[in-house]
């Protein structure tokens, strides 16, 4: 059956691997429904030319830079198999003849009245005058622009309407897109010959381009000329290689640290290597299952590997230590003992990571899910597969000779080195830490970085180059994009018409420093159609243009632009569709602002905010909502940050509740819960202080550390406090028990997150760093400070004294209530109080369970049930005693007596009868019964915790005719007892829980037990009969049983050893009754000798 599950898992893994793909697109990390994200994705998909690489050239002077750029362009153009085109200067400078098509297009999209005005200006009758004016202007102008323009455009086609002339001025010289103002920095746009769909294609292509570029520059490269590469191919290549590096580093690094830590703890090769093997299997399987579930895994999510390694190793460590600690237990037994703890621990960890699915970031949700899957898988693998190969001889389940202990528990790790910290030192450390942290945080909390920088790679050459481009080309801020979508040109045009005034208003009121809108270049189908006739007429004037130009002294060269414009209009007139310019220059311009697919068209405008704090939201609010997006990296950061902040409570609140619930289930004591919460709180303070000191800031990725630290960090305080409980608050024992294990498990988790801190992605690195610090703080505080806090609070100490409830005041109250209330009511109330006390008094309960364990062979479930019943029974017993002391007749309480003849036999010898009884059932009731039978009884007892209570009990007994002798108050009391016995009277004595003076070690339930030697002493002194008696609850009354007399030879108990043996016999006689009625064996302080 088990094998079937493994085969099933293997099948799923194979399917997952087949389906697995990697995605280096950072935007896919982000919530897809955010307008800013949608806009960015659309921009990246349609506009950010996926095939375009920017190559930057930096030189010491402008001539060198220009020359290098030109050489580079020429060299790359020769690589026709790699490069489709290279643009290193404004294309209209390199190919001025191609501007004709653009100008023709701009005219064609003018309102008909404007085009008509052009046609009128170019009427045949006006041409001569027009050219004369041109000549005149050429003769007198001192403007190089005018000279150039008029020389090649004598008819003034380039005198576009003012609104369109703005577009021309944007391009103008155009050098600002290709060169810095001082000319020492130049940019080349290199377009790949083929598509570069994936990271492999990008990486290979980029390598070849770099080689070609370096050969073009030759020896000048890196000496006087520096090259840079940016753009999508560079980003993708860089991110993918970083990703591979990150995975290798994080996985390998974490594995090495795990191996080292494991070796330091255990010094064994085989389990260490087997552990690494299983971790590898878990990792690969998780990745495959992630592939099956998600299909594509984002580069950020690959951070799961290091985290998972650090967490998964804990389960193996726990199992292994348990196996070493209990060599007598079989592997199945260990598994049964450990599995529940592993289950709960894994559940809280899985919950902590699955909670990331509510954080609003799909990328982190994927990371959380992968870790969750991995933790579940690793728990299963470690439970079922880690130990068997290491302990093949222990695979058969055998009888456990000692009960399995809790994980990370009872047996010391192989080292006697003390790692505990003294209380004084812990106090000093705690106060010192708090003081230092507060001093640091007085300067302020760590800042919050709302930008999208967390999504960027660290130390990225491509980004550095992009920053250089922006700096040198005068773009101090990232532009925003306004994207418009439509089904056809008219739809987009109408939307642009709505947007344009909004942008102009924003520019005029100072929100925007400037903007460039595609409105001017976007086709206006209606205008194009309307202008076709006028254009056709102008085309028909071609011969007249030539003739008048010649007559005016213009050469053929002067008419190149005119010819080009007329040719373009000719083509436009013959098409029925919307006219788009198509030559290389126009394509180069259009692809920056226009994208066309068979079903949709997109237009992009660029907005430059006036300041970093510009109120872009007001602009966004005025834009249409449908098919219009305002986006940009700056907006992205703010938008995503907003999502993260809004969803933050969904992460933290469930985790906090889960943590509180876990703590409550584990401890049920406010003090201990408070200690765990204090550990968490101090670790958070330390984390904040470290962040402030190192200059780290919160960002939209590392905010996710909060639930992770909560969910994983709380385990350390939990385990430490459970250990303190088991060892009655002994910090040294607790340290030896779990301290090293916690350091090992915590160390591996810190290693896993710490390796993530080396990630090439800034956000993931910060997440790893913050988690590592937070968990490390949690772990160290739990191991070194928490035990001392616990000691100071007394939170985990086993109570050695009776409960404070055991007081005269309460006893009096109880007496009154028992007297007034009906019996059934009193009993029900008592039972409820008993159970309630069992529930709330955790420490007392632990004491009782420890006391009961030896009688039940350590069966925890039975012990627990018996303890619960014991508390209830005790409450009933107290009520019965109150009833009795309130006047209820003994016969109503004690329903049966067995063995009276034994008493008569002992009494007949005339040397007195000594009744020996344990704290079992309601032993007080026996006194009344004996008195009823005419026996004069003296009860030997210890002082109650409350003096008044002692007096009250004495008085109550006296009313029943029973004398009391409080042992320890009178040095000669023993003499009185001997006299009474010699007089043939009856004396009763409790033999378990003796005062130290009369305590000797005997055996009970196979364990050393302190019993009273007083009975044996009295037997030697008087020769009295030793009669064990028990009075236990049976149904709704009590049954008294007189056990056979303990026979002894008075002469043979002259020495102490013999009397100890006699004491042993007494206990042996009582043991069966105690075992049978263990739920009535009332000890609320520790009774066993350690």
């Amino acid at each position: 059956m088990k094998r079937r599950w493994w085969w099933l898992l293997l099948l799923l893994v194979i399917l997952g691997v087949a389906r697995l793909r990697f995605d280096v697109e950072v935007l896919n990390l982000l919530p897809g429904d955010l307008p800013a994200v949608q806009g960015l994705k659309l921009y990246q998909e349609h506009f950010a030319n996926a095939r375009e690489l920017l190559v930057t050239v930096t030189a010491n002077d402008s001539e060198t830079a220009a020359g290098a750029a030109r050489d580079l362009a020429e060299r790359l153009r020769r690589e026709t198999n790699l490069v489709a085109e290279v643009t290193w200067q404004p294309p209209w400078l390199e190919h001025p003849e191609q501007t004709a098509e653009l100008i023709a297009h701009l005219w064609l999209n003018q309102p008909p009245e404007v085009f008509t005005a052009l046609a009128s200006r170019l009427a045949v009758t006006n041409l001569t005058g027009l050219l004369a004016a041109t000549r005149d202007q050429l003769a007198t102008t001192l403007s190089p622009t005018d000279i150039a323009q008029l020389s090649y455009d004598p008819f003034g086609f380039t005198r576009l309407p003012e609104n369109v002339a703005g577009l021309a001025s944007q391009f103008g010289e155009g050098q600002s897109m290709f060169s810095s103002a001082d000319g020492k920095f130049r940019v080349l746009f290199v377009k790949a010959r083929t598509d570069l769909p994936g990271y492999r294609e990008c990486t290979e292509w980029l390598a070849e381009i770099k080689a070609a570029a370096r050969s073009a520059i030759g020896s000048q490269a890196d000496d006087s000329i520096k090259l840079g590469f940016t753009g999508r191919p560079a980003f993708v290549a860089e991110i993918s290689s970083s990703m591979q590096g990150d995975i290798a580093l994080s996985v390998f690094g974490t594995a090495v640290i795990i191996a080292i830590l494991f070796w330091l703890a255990h010094r064994r090769w085989k389990p260490m290597l087997w552990l690494l093997t299983l971790l590898t299997i878990v990792l690969v399987s998780t990745l495959a299952l992630g592939g099956l579930l998600f299909g594509t895994i984002n580069v950020i999510s690959m951070g799961f590997a290091a985290i998972l390694l650090g967490l998964a190793v804990d389960y193996a460590v726990v199992h292994y230590q348990e196996a070493l600690a209990h060599p007598d237990l079989s592997i199945p037994q260990i598994r049964r003992a450990i599995a529940p703890s592993i289950f709960w621990a894994a559940l809280t960890t899985i919950a902590a990571f699955l909670v990331l699915n509510f954080g609003g970031l799909p990328g982190l949700a994927q990371l959380g899910s992968l870790v969750g899957i991995g933790v579940a898988l690793s728990a299963l693998v470690m439970i079922f597969a880690f130990l068997p190969p290491l302990f093949p001889e222990r695979m058969k389940a055998g009888n456990a000779t000692s009960p399995p202990a809790s994980p990370l528990t009872t047996v010391p790790i192989e080292s006697s080195r003390r790692i505990a910290v003294t209380t004084k030192a812990a106090t000093f450390l705690t106060l010192g830490t708090c003081l230092v942290c507060v001093l640091i945080l007085l300067r302020g909390l760590p800042a919050m970085d709302a930008s999208a920088d967390a999504l960027r790679p660290r130390d990225s050459q491509a980004y550095s180059t992009l920053d250089e481009v922006k700096f040198h080309l005068g773009q101090n801020r990232d532009p925003l994009w306004v994207l418009v979508r439509g089904r056809d040109e008219a739809e987009v045009a109408s939307r642009l018409a709505v947007i344009e005034p909004v942008l102009q208003s924003a520019a005029s009121n100072g929100t925007l420093a400037s903007f460039s809108s595609p409105t001017l270049i976007w086709p206006q189908p209606a205008f194009q159609f309307a202008n076709r006739l006028a254009a056709t007429n102008l085309i028909g004037l071609r011969p007249e243009f030539h003739a008048t130009a010649r007559a005016a002294g213009f050469s053929t060269e002067a008419l190149g632009l005119t010819e080009g414009i007329l040719d373009t209009w000719q083509r436009a007139a013959t098409t029925t569709n919307v006219f788009w310019p198509t030559n290389a220059l126009c394509s180069w311009i259009l692809e920056k602002m226009v994208a066309r697919s068979p079903t949709e068209l997109y237009a992009a405008g660029f907005l430059f905010p006036a300041t970093n704090g510009a109120n872009i939201a007001s602009v966004a609010a005025q834009l249409p909502r449908d098919d219009v997006w305002l986006s940009g990296w700056h907006l992205l950061g703010n938008s995503v940050h907003g999502v993260v902040q809004r969803n933050f409570w969904k992460l933290v609140v469930p985790m906090a509740l889960l943590v509180l619930f876990s703590l409550w289930l584990a401890f049920r004591q406010p003090a201990e819960i408070l200690l765990s919460l204090s550990t968490l709180a101090l670790s958070v303070v330390v984390l904040l202080a470290v962040m402030k000191l190192t200059g780290w800031s919160w960002n939209l990725l590392n905010l996710m550390a909060a639930p992770l630290i909560l969910g994983t960090g709380v385990d350390y305080s939990l385990f430490m406090q459970l250990a303190l409980r088991r060892h009655a608050g002994d910090a040294a024992l607790a340290h030896r028990s779990v301290g090293r294990a916690l350091l090992l498990c915590g160390g591996t988790a810190v290693a896993g997150f710490g390796m993530l801190g080396l990630s090439s992605n800034a956000g993931m690195a910060s997440l790893g760093q913050v988690c590592a610090i937070g968990i490390a703080a949690n772990m160290l505080i739990s191991v070194y400070l928490l035990p001392s806090w616990s000691e100071m609070l007394g939170a985990n100490r086993r109570p050695a004294l009776p409960s404070s409830f055991y007081s005269a005041r309460l006893w009096q109250l109880g007496l009154k209530l028992a007297h007034r209330l009906p019996l059934r009511v009193s009993e029900s109330f008592a039972r409820a109080c008993g159970v309630a006390y069992w529930f709330f008094a955790q420490n007392r309960r632990a004491v009782v369970e420890e006391n009961l364990k030896p009688a039940m062979n350590g069966d925890r479930a039975r012990v627990r049930r018996a303890a619960r019943m014991l508390f209830s029974n005790f409450a009933m017993k107290v009520v019965d005693l109150w009833q009795y002391e309130g006047g209820t007749r003994i016969n109503q309480l004690v329903k049966s007596w067995r063995g009276w003849e034994i008493i008569e036999t002992a009494q007949a010898r005339g040397r007195g009868v000594l009744y020996v009884t344990p704290h079992l059932g309601n032993w007080e009731l026996g006194g009344a019964f004996l008195v009823q039978r005419g026996c004069k009884l003296l009860v030997l007892t210890q002082a109650e915790p409350d003096e008044r209570l002692t007096a009250m009990r004495e008085a109550a007994r006296a009313r029943m005719g029973v004398d009391t002798l409080v042992v320890g108050q009178d040095a000669f009391a023993f003499v009185e007892v001997i006299k009474r016995l010699q007089a043939g009277e009856h004396v009763a004595l409790l033999v378990d829980r003796p005062p130290p003076a009369t305590s000797v070690n005997v055996e009970l339930f196979g364990k050393p037990f302190p019993a009273s030697i007083a009975a044996a002493e009295l037997a030697r002194a008087t020769g009295c009969g030793l009669v064990p008696v028990v009075i236990v609850r049976d149904g709704d009354g009590y049954a008294a049983e007189v056990l056979p007399e303990v026979n002894y030879d008075r002469a043979a108990i002259g020495d102490r050893a013999s009397r100890i043996r006699l004491t042993q016999e007494i206990l042996r006689a009582l043991e069966p009754a105690i075992r049978q009625h263990i739920e009535q064996w009332y000890h609320f302080v520790p009774v066993w000798r350690e």
């Binding site: 402008s62 001539e63 000549r135 005149d136 050429l138 003769a139 007198t140 102008t141 001192l142 403007s143 190089p144 622009t145 000279i147 020389s151 090649y152 004598p154 103002a181 000319g183 002294g553 213009f554 050469s555 060269e557 002067a558």
Partner: protein, 241 residues
């Protein structure tokens, strides 16, 4: 030109040896000519520059001829130039003025009075360095000193024709060379007065100014170089803010 003895020419063909010697001498002369040429050029330049030190003001009429690649015939326009040391000038084309190029202390204006339009070019520290170098070419006819001259120009050639020295200069600034291949300055040989300037642009166009009626050191009022744009003028700054 080398001289050959009449006797040698009449009586006989020059002997091979003589021809070789003449040839060698000619070749040697040719190789020596740059040195001789350089020496002469420097001397002339220095004399020209020395003459400039005495020029405080200059004004003259000019005829500007523009030969553009796209025109089959040159364009001409008349105008007047005023110049005052150290660097103020006013070029006015046509009457009434169609174009005025006015150099003030920290800026230069190109004014189109009829179009009510003016272009402002900042000079001094505010101007982009390269543009400063380019605009300085407009002062080519009035170099201040040798250092200034050498920093702005490389001398391509010096020719004496028709009673005038013609300096063919190449702008030293790479940026300026992108616009202009050559600047020729013509000065009279007797008193080094400015006779002509010719600018050859990279596209082959040429702009030549021939000066007449030049007057040196005449007094003219400051109003010649004073100008504030009227309110109805459209002002542009082609070099950006």
């Amino acid at each position: 030109m080398a001289r050959v003895s009449q006797s040698a020419f009449v009586l006989d063909r020059p002997s091979k040896r003589l021809r070789s010697g003449v040839g060698a001498a000619f070749i040697a002369f040719l190789f020596q000519t740059p040195a001789l040429f350089a020496t002469d050029t420097n001397a002339v330049i220095n004399r020209w520059l020395a003459a400039q030190t005495n020029v405080q003001t200059f004004n003259a009429d000019f005829v500007q001829t523009r030969r553009l690649k796209t025109l089959t015939q040159p364009l001409t326009a008349t105008g007047h130039l005023w110049f005052a040391q150290p660097n103020q000038f006013r070029w006015e084309l046509r009457t009434p003025s169609q174009t005025i190029a006015l150099r003030q202390a920290e800026e230069m204006w190109v004014i189109y009075p009829l179009l009510k339009r003016a272009e402002r070019y900042p000079l001094g520290a505010k101007a982009p360095g390269e543009w400063r170098e380019a605009l300085a070419l407009l002062e080519a006819g009035f170099p201040r000193n040798r250092a200034d001259f050498d920093s702005r120009f490389r001398v391509l050639s010096l020719i004496e024709t028709n009673g005038a020295w013609r300096f063919d200069l190449q702008p030293a600034s790479a940026f300026a060379r992108k616009m202009m291949k050559r600047i020729s300055v013509g000065v009279t040989t007797n008193d080094f007065a400015l006779a002509s300037t010719e600018l050859e642009f990279v596209d082959g166009s040429v702009m030549r100014n021939d000066f007449t009626n030049g007057v040196v050191n005449a007094a003219f009022g400051k109003e010649v170089f004073d100008w504030k744009p009227p309110a109805d003028f459209k002002i542009t700054q082609p070099l950006g803010k």
